[in-house]
Structure formats: structure tokens, C-alpha cells
């Protein structure tokens, strides 16, 4: 909007309404429109790069990391850009890109599959994307047959283990009523897991939803008896509302065809119990263990001695054979009652014989019958003993894990043989050990006590991200301490993508973890990783203040989070963030140079507002936080160092809205000439010689930095000043009220003209910067006042103070105070420095 357009709009709708309109965040309908709003911004650059014949993928990823939230949404909606990325990126690159763009999970999977088949992607990434989906998004994925089936085939995880399934059972049972999700669950989770889930989540409602969706008949037909799900089968039986459903469950459980004449609704439950008692089956591990402890045979041999017809007799005999008939063994195991099965799991010889005989598939079947009576660590160690780790089905392994508690899993991790097996298990990752991860106490114990767990996590960066996100919302403070205690904190932190390459969900999670702890070295490691810094700590040149405190680091993180990625994480110039001494305490100060930003402060005054240290009452920076603006001011200098915003001949020298700053050096005579021309001094002194004399005297005063221009005339005259035929005193008398005199006197550094400006001459304000040069700038730039006293000293500080003010009000309303002061400067900053970061996507 031009100034004329703005004025017209303001007069049309009234100033108050105009202000509200102008303060509204910039909204773009699509990526093209957003790019046009910030032509030099990362979005515009990304579009340009993707349009190239040969795409620089690394550059694209960096630019993606620099996008603001609104731009991420718009890119996700732009099918052309997404297709271009899919065409250009390999699986690794697409993996990094997909979390930088805001998409729902179905679109994430869709675009990833466009780049490369989903089976080329890391399982941890797929897991993370699915776990991050909300109910609506996951429902959309289930409803898109093509993409859902691609996910089902590629992702080896257990869909029933997704956090959403437990968190939103109403949606989950509705999804189980669809063919798409029921197929997925039966295939990846296994029928027993589906049974367990239904039993655990309002079985009557779940059965009704599944039945309404037409999926119950197929499910019931697929159920077979397995000791691990016997209690759950009974729960389903009790919840079933039709006789036929009950009959099917009964027949599946007991492996028999039920005779006619049974009133399943009235008598079925009693019949079920009677059958279980007869078979000695249906109890869980605790109950069977208690029963054995209460008396009766205590080992296999005793059980055989007590019952010569026990299947254990034939099983023992078979296992002693040179050529073991595995099918027969499995059949015999299936015939064991609970006590016999438990005693078998305790018999090291027989277990070793089975381990030696069974392959992965046979171990899976055996575990379906015995696993529910074994501690998880023993089951896994047995698998490893069989050298079948990784060959046991994912469904069986998942069921064993799901039936375990945090303590069981912790014991596995503390037992190397079992952990080896667990790590090799299909679809199992450290981040899928849900019972453990939900129990913060056990989780933290494992993290700090069992180094092998973090080694497992660290083996795959995707798991580091996954774990970080999980812990960030579940007792992050205790995890912070545990991680520190583990001694692996540095490896954990540096395994994350660095700087702008870090996906936004990781950034948010790392921040939560960072804020939850107080260990300074670890926090600094995190800060350096997040913002791509080489070092944070005490300044070496201005040493003596010590290191940053934890609370200061917390404040700094949130200040730095307001800035664009390109000014910090992708600022190649900036290498260090340091703490310097602070002789001006409690007022903070800083210095930028030598590839570092150094800040000095008083830790007891981090919350102090600006009450006059750098501002006058009407200045826009009055009332802002002193520490924050001090840091942001230096960051502005760092941005300037990288991008040369205030370079000679750059925008601050040429753009009228920014002041069109001019550097007049110390060319006093030229400055006087220019001022004389612009104030029409020749009209007052039409005689050329007189005009030259006056200019010469004014030049003399200027070069002596005198706030009294008469001194120039006195110097010219010497002792004869005002005496006899002296010409200088009369010349002074004629010129002293001329505007050029006020301009020269009031522009002297001694008068702090950057704060108390002299009158403008021909629309420009001239002053001595006290830096070995005179400057001038457009007076209109400060027509709306100023941000602070120092802002107008020279163009570098003009930029830095504006930068600090712009980001002081971020993220809620970046640039609000700058806009209130000067809309032209605000627009330039928004377009060139902020570069689209604040743009919001149209609904």
C-alpha cells in the first residue's frame, strides 16, 4: 500500500479502524501470494529453486527450515511445490522435508510415497508421523484407501499401539468397524491383539461398533484359542449380545462344536466357567504362580509322576529324540493345562531343547501358548537362546510387550540377552515400548542406569527425535536429570538435526526439555544445537562475569525464538553467544563483533522494564523489557554483519523510507556548501566574497566541533574581532539568525543531536555522529517520533534498535511498535528482514 493509498483508506474508514486494519497480521491465500509479500524471503527463494532444472536439494531443505508457520501451511497446500519436491528429493531428503511442512498425516504419507515408496523410509519417521496425528487426521488416512494401504504395507508397527487408539477409544472402535482399519489391525497387530483391545475398551460398545460396521463376523471367524487371550475371550463372550456371537466365541475358545439346545444368553457364562475348570486353563501368570506355590507338583518330573497321562510325558519324550517333530511338540504344548505350562517354562532343559529345535515360526506358536506365563525378559531370552530373535512374528512380540508393565520392560533392558532379542524384534523400537515410556519413574531409571537403552535410541536419529517428543510432555524435568546422569546427554542432543534443519516438532520438544532442567552445560548444549551456535558461555575478551545462569538461558531461548532462522541458526557470521562483564549494572549492555554477540546483565534484573535508561517517555521502546531488547539489539547487529543491511550504497542509504542516510565524512566545507545551497544563504549574502567568508567561518566552527558558530568568525578575525574595520563580526551579526547557523550548531555531537535533532534543512537532518563523520537522513523518517534516544545516531544503530523493537513484540505481533512509529520502516523490515515469517495462511 502506498502512502497515498494508506491516507485514502484512513480517511475513508477513520483512523482508529485504519490502525486496526494495518495491525492485522498479513494473510496470504496461497504460497505464491505469500512469496510475493516477501520477494527475498525463504519462501520466494524456495519456489525459485524448485523451478530450476537442477534443484539444489540442500538449499531447499535449509529454506524450508526458515519458513514461518503460516508459510509452512501454504507450502503444504501447494500441490505444485509438493510435487516438485517429490520429484527432486530422495527418501532421505523427503524425510527431512516432510516435517518442515504443515500437513495432515494422509498428505504426509501421500507426498512421501510420491517421492519414493513408503518402504524406503525410516520406520521411526513413519511411527512419529502416525503418532503425531489427531483423530480427525488419522480418520482421513483410514478413509483414503490408496494411501492407507501403502502405509499398512510399509509400516511394520502395530496400529493398535498408536497413542491415539488408546486416547480416543470411541474413534478407534469406529475405525475397527471399517474394513480398511480392521484389515490393517488384524494383519499388523494380529487377531489376539484386536481381541485384547476390544476387551480393554468397553467390550460391549466395541463389539457393537464393529458389528455395525460389518466387521464382527470376519473377526469372530478368525479367532482361535490362545492362552494369552483366554481372559479377554471370556470378556468378549460376556459382552456379546447375540447367541450366535457367543456360540462362535465359545467354539473358538474351546476348539469344539457346541451342541444344540444351549441358551447362550442365560447359561453360556456358567458353561464357559465349567469348561475352564475342567481343562485347568484360563488363568493368568499371577494366578497360576500362586496356585503352584500353594501346593502340588513343583516341577515337570513331579507333574509327570503325578499324572502319567500328562502331555508333558509325550513332550519330554519327543524332545529327547534326535529328530524332533516340532508340530507334535506344539500340539502337545497346546494341550497343557496352566500348571503344566508354567512348570514347563521353568524347566531349563526342556526349554533349551525346544529352543534348539524350533524355528521362528514355531517359537511364535510356542509363545502364543506359553508366553503369557513367562516374564517378558525370560520369553525374550528364550527367543535369543533359540537364535530366532527377529524371526518371531511382530504380533507375538507386540502382544508380549503389551501384556507387560514398565517394570517388566525395565528388567528386559537390564538383561543383555533379553535386550538383544528385543532390539532384533520386528517392529520394536525404543519409542514403541509404551508401558515403559508412560511410566516416567521407570523410564528415567532405565535411562540413567542402563546405558544400553540410550545406545539403542542413539543408533537411530529418528528414535532420538521420537523419544524427545515423548518425554517433552511427560515429566521432562526428571528425564532431563536422568539424561544428565546417564552421561550420554551430549550424544543425545547432537543426534538431533541442527539449527533450522531441526523439524518444528523437535524444536518445540527440545524447548520444553530445556526449560525443565537447570544444568547449565547441558542447557548450553541444547541451545547451541537449536540455534546452530559453536559456543555459548563466558566471553573471552571481556571475561569476568562467568557463565550464563539457567534462568538467564531460559529467558534467552525465548528471546531468540522470536527471530527468523536466517538471522540466527542460518547466520554464518554468528558463531558465539557470550556473557561479558557489565560495568553499567544493573542496566544491561552488549557488544557484537568478532563473530560473537556478547551480553552483560545483572541476573537479578532480567525482568526490568525500560524506564528511562535508553528512552524518553514517548519513545516506543519505553516499557519494553531491558534485557530482551538489549539482546535483540545485538542480534540486530549480528544480522547486519551477515546480510550487510547497512552497507554503503545499500537500502539504508538509498531507500527514502529508511532515511536515505548519507555519510558526509568530515568534509566540513562540502557540508557547509550543501547547507548553504539548501538554505539559500546566497540570498542573504549576494556578494560572492562575503558568501565565501561566511561559509569559511562556519566551516571553521564546524571543524572545531563548536556549538557556538560565532567562534568560527572569532577565529578568522583573531584579536581584531569586532574592532575597527573588522569584517567578521558584522558578517556574524548578519548570519547568526539564519537557519544554517542553527543547523550547524545543533548538529554538533555535544548536543546529542541523534536525540535532540536540529531543524531539518531541505527535508534532511544533519548531525555529527561523533564517529568521525557527519550523517544526514530524511526528516520524515522521524516524523512519528523515535524508538529510543540512540536510534538515530547512525544507520547501524538505527537498524539495530529497529530490529530490537520489531522482535520485542514477537511472536504475538511482530513489529507492532515499529509500525506504530513508522509504517514505511515496518513494511521494509517485514518484507526484507522478517521475510514472511509472520505471514498467516488464509483459512
Amino acid at each position: 500500500m502506498s502512502a497515498g493509498q494508506a491516507a485514502s483508506l484512513a480517511s475513508g474508514i477513520g483512523n482508529a479502524a485504519f490502525t486496526r486494519v494495518m495491525r492485522a497480521p498479513r494473510v496470504a491465500a496461497n504460497a505464491g501470494a505469500a512469496a510475493a509479500l516477501a520477494p527475498t524471503g525463504p519462501l520466494a527463494q524456495l519456489r525459485d529453486e524448485l523451478d530450476d532444472t537442477f534443484v539444489n536439494e540442500g538449499k531447499c531443505l535449509r529454506l524450508l527450515g526458515q519458513l514461518g508457520d503460516g508459510e509452512r501451511i501454504l507450502v503444504g497446500r501447494d500441490a505444485t511445490m509438493m510435487q516438485q519436491m517429490a520429484d527432486a528429493f530422495n527418501a532421505s531428503e523427503m524425510s527431512r522435508a516432510i516435517e518442515q511442512v504443515k500437513l495432515t498425516v494422509k498428505w504426509q504419507m501421500h507426498w512421501m510415497s510420491k517421492a519414493k515408496g513408503l518402504d524406503h523410509y525410516d520406520q521411526g519417521l513413519l511411527t512419529r508421523l502416525l503418532e503425531a496425528a489427531d483423530a480427525a487426521a488419522f480418520g482421513e488416512l483410514i478413509g483414503w484407501d490408496e494411501v492407507r494401504d501403502k502405509v499398512r504395507k510399509a509400516w511394520r508397527g502395530d496400529p493398535l499401539e498408536l497413542p491415539l487408539i488408546a486416547a480416543d477409544p470411541a474413534s478407534a472402535r469406529r475405525w475397527l468397524g471399517t474394513a480398511g482399519f480392521m484389515t490393517w489391525a488384524r494383519e499388523r497387530s494380529g487377531v489376539p491383539a484386536v481381541v485384547q483391545w476390544i476387551a480393554a475398551h468397553d467390550p460391549a460398545a466395541s463389539l457393537a461398533a464393529i458389528k455395525a460396521g460389518g466387521q464382527l463376523a470376519g473377526l469372530l471367524g478368525a479367532i482361535s484359542d490362545q492362552p494369552t487371550i483366554r481372559p479377554q475371550l471370556k470378556q468378549l463372550f460376556v459382552a456379546a449380545t447375540t447367541a450366535d456371537d457367543r456360540r462362535q466365541l465359545y467354539e473358538a475358545r474351546f476348539g469344539t462344536r457346541a451342541g444344540g439346545g444351549i441358551d447362550w444368553m442365560a447359561n453360556g457364562e456358567a458353561l464357559w466357567t465349567q469348561q475352564e475348570l475342567a481343562a485347568g486353563t484360563g488363568s493368568d501368570r499371577a494366578a497360576v504362580t500362586a496356585s503352584v506355590a500353594a501346593g502340588g507338583p513343583q516341577n515337570v518330573n513331579a507333574a509327570i509322576a503325578a499324572d502319567k497321562k500328562s502331555p508333558l510325558v509325550a513332550l519330554k519324550d519327543e524332545l529327547d529324540d534326535l529328530n524332533v517333530d516340532e508340530d507334535k511338540c506344539l500340539r502337545l504344548i497346546g494341550q497343557l493345562n496352566d500348571r503344566e505350562a508354567l512348570l514347563l517354562t521353568r524347566d531349563a532343559t526342556l526349554m533349551k531343547q525346544m529352543a534348539g529345535a524350533f524355528n521362528g515360526s514355531e517359537m511364535s506358536h510356542a509363545l502364543e501358548r506359553l508366553g503369557h506365563l513367562m516374564a517378558l525378559k525370560d520369553a525374550l531370552a528364550w527367543i535369543e537362546q533359540a537364535k530366532e530373535s527377529g524371526d518371531v512374528t511382530a504380533a507375538v512380540t507386540n502382544r508380549l510387550i503389551e501384556a507387560s508393565n514398565a517394570q517388566d520392560i525395565a528388567e528386559v533392558i537390564g538383561y543383555p540377552k533379553a535386550l538383544t532379542s528385543l532390539r532384533k524384534s520386528k517392529g520394536v523400537r525404543p519409542t514403541t515400548l509404551t508401558p515403559l515410556l508412560l511410566d516416567a519413574g521407570k523410564r528415567d531409571f532405565v535411562v540413567q542406569s542402563y546405558g544400553a537403552f540410550l545406545d539403542w535410541v542413539l543408533a537411530d536419529a529418528a528414535d532420538v527425535s521420537g523419544l524427545l517428543r515423548l518425554v517433552s510432555t511427560n515429566s521432562p524435568g526428571t528425564f532431563f536429570t536422568a539424561l544428565k546422569t546417564s552421561g550420554k546427554q551430549d550424544r543425545f542432543i547432537t543426534a538431533l538435526p541442527k539449527g533450522s534443519l531441526m523439524p518444528p516438532p523437535d524444536r518445540a520438544a527440545l524447548r520444553l526439555l530445556f526449560l525443565s532442567g537447570v544444568d547449565v552445560p547441558m542447557k548450553i548444549k541444547m541451545l547451541n544445537q537449536r540455534y546452530n551456535l559453536d559456543r555459548t558461555g563466558e566471553d573471552t575478551a571481556l571475561a569476568g562475569a562467568g557463565n550464563f545462569e539457567a534462568a538467564t538461558l531460559d529467558r534467552m531461548w525465548d528471546v531468540l525464538d522470536r527471530m527468523p532462522e536466517q538471522d540466527l541458526a542460518d547466520n554464518k557470521w554468528l558463531e558465539q553467544l557470550t556473557r561479558r562483564t557489565n560495568p553499567t549494572a544493573p542496566t544491561p549492555q552488549g557488544v557484537t563483533g568478532g563473530n560473537r554477540v556478547a551480553v552483560g546483565y545483572d541476573p537479578a534484573h532480567l525482568a526490568d522494564p525500560e524506564t528511562g535508561a535508553f528512552t524518553d517517555p514517548a519513545d516506543q521502546m519505553r516499557g519494553t523489557n531491558l534485557f530482551d531488547t538489549n539482546l535483540l539489539h545485538e542480534m540486530g547487529h549480528a544480522s547486519d554483519a551477515q546480510y550487510k543491511w547497512t552497507r554503503d550504497g545499500g537500502p539504508f542509504d538509498t531507500d527514502p523510507a529508511l532515511g536515505a542516510w548519507a555519510d558526509h565524512r568530515l568534509h566540513y566545507a562540502r557540508i557547509v556548501d550543501r547547507l548553504a545551497d539548501d538554505t539559500a544563504l546566497a540570498t542573504t549574502f549576494p556578494i560572492h566574497r562575503e558568501l565565501n567568508d561566511v561559509k569559511s567561518a562556519l566551516t571553521d566552527a564546524m571543524s572545531n566541533k563548536s556549538v557556538n558558530a560565532e567562534t568560527g568568525f572569532q577565529n578568522k578575525a583573531g584579536a581584531s574581532y569586532g574592532v575597527g574595520a573588522d569584517k567578521w563580526k558584522p558578517l556574524w551579526n548578519r548570519v547568526k539568525a539564519h537557519p544554517i547557523v542553527a543547523a550547524i550548531q545543533n548538529g554538533q555531537a555535544a548536543k546529542s543531536p541523534w536525540n535532540n535533532p536540529p531543524a531539518a534543512v531541505a527535508g534532511r537532518i544533519y548531525h555529527d555522529t561523533d564517529y568521525d563523520y557527519w550523517a544526514s537522513y530524511n526528516a520524515a523518517t522521524r516524523a512519528g517520533g523515535k524508538l529510543s534516544r540512540y536510534q538515530f545516531r547512525d544507520k547501524r544503530d538505527f537498524f539495530a534498535e529497529t530490529y530490537a523493537t520489531y522482535y520485542e513484540t514477537a511472536p504475538a505481533d511482530p513489529g507492532r511498535l515499529v509500525k506504530a512509529w513508522n509504517n514505511g520502516v515496518f513494511e521494509w523490515f517485514r518484507k526484507n528482514v522478517d521475510r514472511g515469517r509472520e505471514t498467516q495462511a488464509a483459512p
Binding site: T592, A749, Y771
Partner: protein, 143 residues
């Protein structure tokens, strides 16, 4: 090269403040290598001296402990001391300049010498109180 002046910086001496071996400078880095491009530098007998130690030595050398100056003498001492206490920062200039509306006061308080000074920083008053004892110990309290 003058002692204490960083290499490449341009120095400007306040000749009017000279006193025995004492010299008072303002130095500017014309390259703007850092965001703080000016310094106030005090040199005694050819060596840079700074901080409370420098103030203590100056007050002792100029006889201020024995005979606190008044009027123009107080103003001169204030500007000399200002070279120790006025710290140019990234957000404020550093030229030593007394606030014309608030003349400096140098007074005794028991065995202490107290300097109530107000400098002009970027057009705003910046008051600072300096308390020093002949036996040692200097405090600088802004505000």
C-alpha cells in the same frame, strides 16, 4: 602509538584535562568492527589505568582528598573522573560531558570524598555518585 589506544583506532585527547602524567582520551574505531566503536581511555605516566584503582590514584595525585575542588576545579575533576565511569555501550554514546543544568558537587563525608556528578548521556541526565577514601576503596553508584 599512544598506550592504551587499540591499534587502528583514532584517538582524541582532552588536552584541557591534562594533569601531571595524566592524559584523557576518547578513541573511535573507524572500521566499526564491533558494535561498540568508542572508548574512554585514561593514561597515567604512559600506561593505561582504569576502574576504581584509577579513580583512587587520580584523586590522590590531584590532591582532591586533601583539598576537594569547587567550581571550575570540581567540573574539571568531574570530567576527568567521567573518563573512568562513562562507559560507551552498544546502545549509548560515551563522550564525557557534564549535564549543564546540574553542576558537580565534590564534598567530604567523614573520611570519604563524595563526588555527586551528573553527566549528559545522549541528551539525558545520568547521575552517578562516587565515594572514595584516602585509605582505599572506591564505589561507583549510578542513579
Amino acid at each position: 602509538m599512544t598506550a592504551g589506544i587499540p591499534e587502528g583506532w583514532r584517538e582524541e585527547e582532552r588536552v584541557d584535562l591534562r594533569s601531571g602524567g595524566w592524559r584523557f582520551y576518547r578513541a573511535v574505531d573507524p572500521t566499526f568492527a564491533e558494535s561498540v566503536s568508542e572508548q574512554n581511555i585514561v593514561v597515567r605516566d604512559g600506561e593505561r589505568i582504569a576502574g576504581p584503582e584509577g579513580i583512587q590514584a587520580l584523586l590522590a595525585d590531584t590532591g582532591a582528598f586533601d583539598d576537594p575542588p569547587t567550581g571550575d576545579g570540581a567540573a574539571r575533576l568531574a570530567e576527568q573522573v567521567g573518563h573512568f565511569v562513562v562507559e560507551p555501550t552498544s546502545r549509548s554514546s560515551g563522550r564525557v560531558r557534564l549535564d549543564p543544568g546540574r553542576p558537580p558537587v565534590v564534598r567530604r563525608d567523614g573520611d570519604a570524598l563524595v563526588l555527586d556528578l551528573t553527566f549528559d548521556r545522549d541528551g539525558a541526565p545520568w547521575p552517578v555518585t562516587i565515594t572514595a577514601r584516602p585509605s582505599g576503596g572506591v564505589t561507583v553508584q549510578p542513579g
